[in-house]
C-alpha cells in the first residue's frame, strides 16, 4: 500500500471507540506494533452507549465511507449495561441505513477488549478493505440518496424512535410498567414498523422542505403507494409538521413547516 498516489480514492473511516475497552485495545495494538491501514480516524468516547443514531447518520451525511463503533464485550461494560443499549441502537441505525439505501454494512459494531490489540488491527484491516470494496459513499454526489440519508437521520431524532431504542433493553429484561417482559422478536417487529413509518414521514418532510409537493409526486419519488403517503401526511398535519399549500386545480400540495411540531 506504500505506493498509493495522492489522487487515488481512499476510504474515509471513522471509529468511535469507548475509553475503557476498544480505545484501550487500540492502544495495546499500537504498543504491540500490530499494523493496520491508515484510513481510520478514531474519536474517543467514554462509552459506546454515548453514540446516538444521530451521530452516526450525520457523519454518513457528511460523506464518511465507513463508521466503526467499538465497545466492551457484552457483560464487560465499564458502565455495567451501556453496550446492551449500543447493540439495540446499532440495530436501529442499520435499519435506518437500509431504509435510506446507503449500504448498512458501512456501519460496523465490534466488541474489542483492552487486551485484544491484535484483534483490533484485524478488525480495522478487514473493515477498511470491506469499505474499499463498497467504494466511495455516493451521499455527496447523489441528491436523492442524500435526501434519504437526511430523512434517516431525522427519523432517528424522533421522539418515537429514541424512546423505543432507549426503552427496548429495559422492556425485554425488566419488563414494562405492568411487569410483563416483552418478547424480543415481537418488540423488534414493533420497532421495525415504527422505523419504516418514521423514515417515510421524515422523507416526506425532507422532500417537501424546499418545494411543496403533491401526494402523487411524493409517492412517485418515494416509490410508495399514494394512500400510504396520504396517511403519513394526515399524521404529519395532526402534528403540525406539514401544511397544505393552496390547491391548484384539484391537486393540493404540501410543504414542511420549518419550526413545526405539537405545541
Amino acid at each position: 500500500m506504500a505506493d498509493k498516489t495522492s489522487g487515488e480514492w481512499e476510504p474515509k473511516v471513522i471509529g468511535f471507540l469507548c475509553n475503557w475497552c476498544s480505545y484501550a485495545g487500540a492502544d495495546l495494538c499500537g504498543v504491540s506494533r500490530y499494523q493496520y491501514p491508515t484510513n481510520i480516524r478514531a474519536v474517543r468516547v467514554m462509552c459506546s452507549t454515548r453514540i446516538s443514531p444521530h451521530l452516526v447518520l450525520d457523519i454518513f451525511k457528511a460523506g464518511a465511507d465507513g463508521v466503526l463503533l467499538g465497545g466492551c464485550h457484552i457483560g464487560d461494560c465499564h458502565y455495567i449495561t451501556g453496550n446492551y443499549y449500543t447493540e439495540k441502537r446499532v440495530r436501529l441505525m442499520k435499519r435506518l441505513l437500509e431504509e435510506s439505501g446507503l449500504e448498512a454494512d458501512r456501519l460496523r459494531l465490534e466488541w474489542v477488549s483492552a487486551s485484544e490489540g491484535e484483534k483490533f488491527s484485524k478488525i480495522v484491516t478487514e473493515f477498511t478493505e470491506h469499505v474499499r470494496k463498497l467504494g466511495p459513499s455516493k451521499v455527496k454526489k447523489d441528491e436523492s440518496l442524500m435526501a434519504r440519508v437526511a430523512a434517516a437521520d431525522d427519523a432517528s431524532e424522533t421522539f418515537r424512535l429514541r424512546a423505543l431504542s432507549g426503552k427496548e433493553f429495559g422492556l425485554v429484561t425488566k419488563g414494562n410498567v405492568y411487569n410483563n417482559k416483552l418478547d424480543p422478536a415481537e418488540l423488534d417487529k414493533i420497532i421495525d414498523s415504527a422505523t419504516e413509518e418514521e423514515f417515510e414521514r421524515s422523507l416526506i418532510l425532507e422532500l417537501s422542505r424546499t418545494k411543496p409537493r403533491s401526494v402523487k409526486e411524493l409517492g412517485g419519488i418515494m416509490e410508495l403507494p399514494t394512500d400510504k403517503v396520504l396517511r403519513h401526511i394526515v399524521v404529519l398535519r395532526q402534528k403540525n409538521m406539514i401544511t397544505m399549500e393552496h390547491p391548484e386545480g384539484f391537486t393540493p400540495t404540501y410543504k414542511t413547516i420549518e419550526i413545526g411540531g405539537e405545541q
Binding site: 500500500m1 506504500a2 498509493k4 474515509k12 471513522i14 468511535f16 475509553n19 480505545y23 484501550a24 487500540a26 492502544d27 495494538c29 499500537g30 504498543v31 506494533r33 500490530y34 499494523q35 493496520y36 491508515t38 480516524r41 478514531a42 474519536v43 474517543r44 468516547v45 467514554m46 462509552c47 452507549t49 454515548r50 453514540i51 446516538s52 444521530h54 451521530l55 450525520d58 457523519i59 457528511a62 460523506g63 464518511a64 465499564h78 458502565y79 455495567i80 449495561t81 451501556g82 443499549y85 441502537r89 488491527s121 431524532e157 421522539f159 418515537r160 429514541r162 424512546a163 431504542s165 432507549g166 426503552k167 433493553f169 429495559g170
Partner: protein
C-alpha cells in the same frame, strides 16, 4: 454541601489554541514527519502557537507548555503524543499549574493510534497525524471550562449484615475511628457460622472461634448495633446517603451515612427432591449435619456417605460452591477422629433423626468388607494397623464426589489427612449419579464404580448432601434499593472481577463475603476488611471530587418522561421538584447513555456534546476545519 473549585475561565473568550507535537524520541519522530505536522498545525483556525518537542512529557516539554500558555495567552492546549489513558492527567495538571482549566486540554493520540501502527508508511502516517490534529483542533474550539464539584463525605459507615464479613468490616471501620451502623436481621451476630460445629484446619468450635469478634463488635464504642433490624430505604449518593433502618415491626429511623458495605451472606441450598432428601429420615444437608454434630445429637452410625455437588455445578446452580469439598473433608475427619465425642444423647433429647432405622445386618457386612480390604495390603500387619486406625473400625465414611477441589496448601493437606484416615473418596460422573433409597428398613446408596465399571450398592446409616451456598432470596430488593447489580446466580456483582473485587461500580458502596459468591471464613474476613478499607478512603479524605464528566439536563427541553432515570446504571438521575430530570453530579459517571436515550434530546454530556463529537469526527472528512 457542594463546593465549587475556584478555577474560573471565560467560555466566551475566542479560542487561542496551542499545539504541542511530540516526537517521543523516535517513537513518533521515526515514523511521522513531526516538523511538517507542527507546521501544518500552525495553519489551522484559532491555532496561535504550534511547536514540536522531543519529549513533551519531560520537564522541558512541560515548561514549554506553561511558558506558551503565559506568553501567547493560550486558552486551549493540544498535546499530540501518546494516549490520554496514561498521560492526560500529567498534561491536565500542567495546564492547571499555568492557570488554565484542565477541561480545556485536548489530547491527540499520534503514537499508539498512528506512528506505532503505520510504521512503514511515513507519508500516510504523517497525513493521518495532521488529520488527527485537525480533529483535535475542531474539538478544542468547542470545549468549555468545567468546574469540579466537591462533595463532602459523612464519616459514618453502614454495614448490612452481621455475619463474619459484616462484623470484620464494621470492626475495621470502627477501629479506624469512624462511626458504623451495623444492621443484622437476626437477633444475634455471627450469621451462618453460628450454625457450624467446628472450623476446618482448626480444632476449635465455630462459636468459640468467632466469639472474640462478636465481643469486639458488641463492645466497640464506634459501632451502633441494630439487631433484629433491616434497611428499609436508601437515598442519596456517595458521602450523603440517608438510610432508613427499622427493627422488626418497629418504626423506621433515618440515619446519614457516607459509605455502605453490603455483607448480607448466603443461604444453604435446600436439595428438595434430590437423593431422597425430605423423603428418608437420615438424609441431611451438610449444615444440618453440622448442627447435629454441634448439639452432639448424632445417632450411632456405622457408615456415612457424603454426596458432593448436590444441586451445584450444573445440576440446579451452575457454579461450584467452592467450600463444600473442604467442609465435607473436615466432617469426614471429624467422624473418624472424634466419633465417640460427637455421639449423642439422641434418645433423651430427640432430634429430626430419631426415626432412624437401627442398623441390623449392616455391621457384619461392613466388617467383612473391611477385613477384605485390609487383607489386600500386607498380611500380618493388619492387627497393628487396626489398632492405629482405631476409630475407622467403628465407622466408615465415603465421600462421593465429582472432583475433590481442595485448593491451596491447608486444604490439600487436610484432604491427604482424610485419606490417611481411610476416608474413601469415590468419584461419580454426571451420567451416573449415585441413588439413595430405602430397602428393608435400611438406607442404601447405589453408585457406579468408575474403575470397575459396575454398579455397586452399599448400606449407609446417614447420607450427607453437600449443597451449594445460594444467594439470599431478598438480595434483589437490596440490589434495587442500592442500585447495584446482581449476577446471573443472584449474588451481588462487583465492579471488576479482578481489580475491584470488593467495590461496586457505584461509588460509595462496597461488597464483602458470601453475598457475592461462596467463600470460606478467612476469605470472608479478608473481604470484610478489604471492603472496610475501601469504604474508609472517601471517609478519611472527607470529600470526593466529582470529575466534571457528567450529564447536563436542559430543562427547557425536558418533558419529565423519566426514560433517562430508567436507563441510568448508577441511579444518578432523579426528578426534581419541578418534575424535570436532575443529575446527581457525584453519582454520575458520564457514560452518556441517558444523553443518547433522551427522547427529547434534552441531555448532553459535559465536553462530550454532540456538537463536539461531530465536529471532531467531521473534521477528519474535510481538508479544512
Amino acid at each position: 454541601m457542594i463546593h465549587m473549585t475556584d478555577k474560573k475561565a471565560n467560555e466566551n473568550d475566542k479560542p487561542r489554541i496551542g499545539v504541542f507535537v511530540c516526537s517521543c524520541g523516535s517513537n513518533i519522530g521515526g515514523f511521522v514527519d513531526v516538523p511538517s505536522v507542527a507546521d501544518y498545525a500552525k495553519t489551522l483556525p484559532d491555532v496561535v502557537y504550534a511547536t514540536q518537542n522531543m519529549y513533551t512529557c519531560a520537564e522541558d516539554g512541560l515548561s514549554n507548555i506553561r511558558e506558551a500558555i503565559r506568553k501567547h495567552n493560550l486558552n486551549r492546549v493540544i498535546v499530540a503524543s501518546c494516549t490520554p489513558r496514561t498521560h492526560a492527567p500529567l498534561f491536565q495538571a500542567t495546564c492547571e499549574g499555568a492557570g488554565l482549566n484542565k477541561y480545556l486540554f485536548t489530547f491527540v493520540n499520534i503514537r499508539e493510534h498512528c506512528s506505532w501502527v503505520h510504521m512503514k508508511e511515513k507519508d500516510l502516517a504523517s497525513k493521518k497525524a495532521k488529520d488527527l490534529i485537525r480533529m483535535g483542533v475542531a474539538r478544542a474550539r468547542l470545549l468549555i471550562p468545567q468546574e469540579e464539584a466537591k462533595v463532602e463525605v459523612e464519616p459514618v459507615g453502614l454495614v448490612i449484615g452481621g455475619g463474619v464479613s459484616g462484623m470484620s468490616a464494621a470492626a475495621s471501620m470502627a477501629d479506624m475511628g469512624f462511626q458504623v451502623h451495623l444492621v443484622e436481621k437476626d437477633g444475634e451476630l455471627g450469621g451462618f457460622v453460628r450454625l457450624l460445629n467446628n472450623l476446618y484446619v482448626t480444632e476449635k468450635g465455630a462459636a468459640e472461634t468467632i466469639a472474640p469478634l462478636i465481643a469486639k463488635v458488641k463492645g466497640h464504642k464506634n459501632i451502633v448495633l441494630h439487631l433484629n433490624s433491616t434497611v428499609k430505604s436508601v437515598e442519596g449518593f456517595i458521602g450523603n446517603y440517608t438510610v432508613g433502618i427499622a427493627p422488626k415491626g418497629g418504626e423506621e429511623k433515618k440515619s446519614k451515612v457516607g459509605t455502605i458495605v453490603v455483607a448480607t451472606g448466603a443461604l444453604e441450598f435446600v436439595p428438595e427432591g434430590l437423593y431422597g432428601y425430605n423423603q428418608y429420615p437420615n438424609v441431611v444437608t451438610l449444615t444440618e449435619f453440622e448442627i447435629l454434630c454441634k448439639r452432639k445429637t448424632l445417632p450411632k452410625l456405622k457408615s456415612v456417605a457424603f454426596v458432593q455437588c448436590v444441586g451445584s455445578r450444573g445440576q440446579k446452580m451452575s457454579y461450584c460452591s467452592r467450600i463444600c469439598c473442604n467442609v465435607a473433608i473436615k466432617n469426614a475427619i471429624n467422624i473418624v477422629d472424634n466419633y465417640e465425642g460427637m455421639l449423642g444423647v439422641m434418645e433423651k433429647e430427640g432430634t429430626l433423626i430419631d426415626k432412624i432405622p437401627r442398623q441390623k445386618k449392616a455391621t457384619d457386612e461392613i466388617l467383612e468388607r473391611r477385613r477384605r480390604r485390609r487383607g489386600r495390603g500386607s498380611e500380618g500387619e493388619g492387627d497393628a494397623e487396626e489398632v492405629k486406625l482405631g476409630p475407622s473400625d467403628k465407622i466408615e465414611v465415603t465421600v462421593f464426589n465429582r472432583d475433590v477441589m481442595s485448593y491451596g496448601v491447608e486444604h490439600e493437606l487436610t484432604y491427604n489427612k482424610a485419606r490417611e484416615k481411610r476416608v474413601k473418596f469415590v468419584r461419580y460422573t454426571v451420567d451416573h449419579l449415585p441413588k439413595v433409597f430405602m430397602e428393608d428398613n435400611q438406607l442404601k446408596i447405589t453408585y457406579f464404580h468408575e474403575t470397575l465399571k459396575l454398579e455397586r450398592t452399599m448400606p449407609v446409616d446417614m447420607v450427607v448432601l453437600s449443597t451449594p451456598l445460594v444467594a439470599q432470596p431478598d438480595a434483589g430488593d437490596l440490589s434495587k434499593m442500592l442500585k447495584v447489580p446482581l449476577g446471573q446466580e443472584g449474588f451481588f456483582l462487583e465492579a471488576h472481577v479482578k481489580l475491584r473485587p470488593v467495590d461496586f461500580a457505584t461509588d460509595g458502596i462496597y461488597v464483602a463475603g458470601t453475598c457475592k459468591g461462596p467463600a470460606d471464613i478467612s476469605e470472608s474476613v479478608i473481604q470484610g476488611s478489604a471492603a472496610a478499607s475501601r469504604a474508609a478512603i472517601p471517609m478519611a479524605k472527607g470529600y470526593v471530587q466529582a470529575e466534571a464528566l457528567s450529564s447536563v439536563v436542559d430543562e427547557t427541553k425536558c418533558t419529565g418522561c423519566g426514560t433517562c432515570i430508567e436507563v441510568c446504571p448508577y441511579g444518578a438521575l432523579r426528578k426534581n421538584e419541578k418534575g424535570f430530570a436532575e443529575v446527581i453530579i457525584a453519582a454520575c459517571k458520564g457514560c452518556g447513555c441517558c444523553g443518547a436515550t433522551c427522547p427529547e434530546g434534552a441531555i448532553s454530556m459535559t465536553n462530550y456534546t454532540d456538537a463536539q463529537l461531530l465536529a471532531e469526527a467531521k473534521a477528519s472528512l474535510d481538508e479544512e476545519v
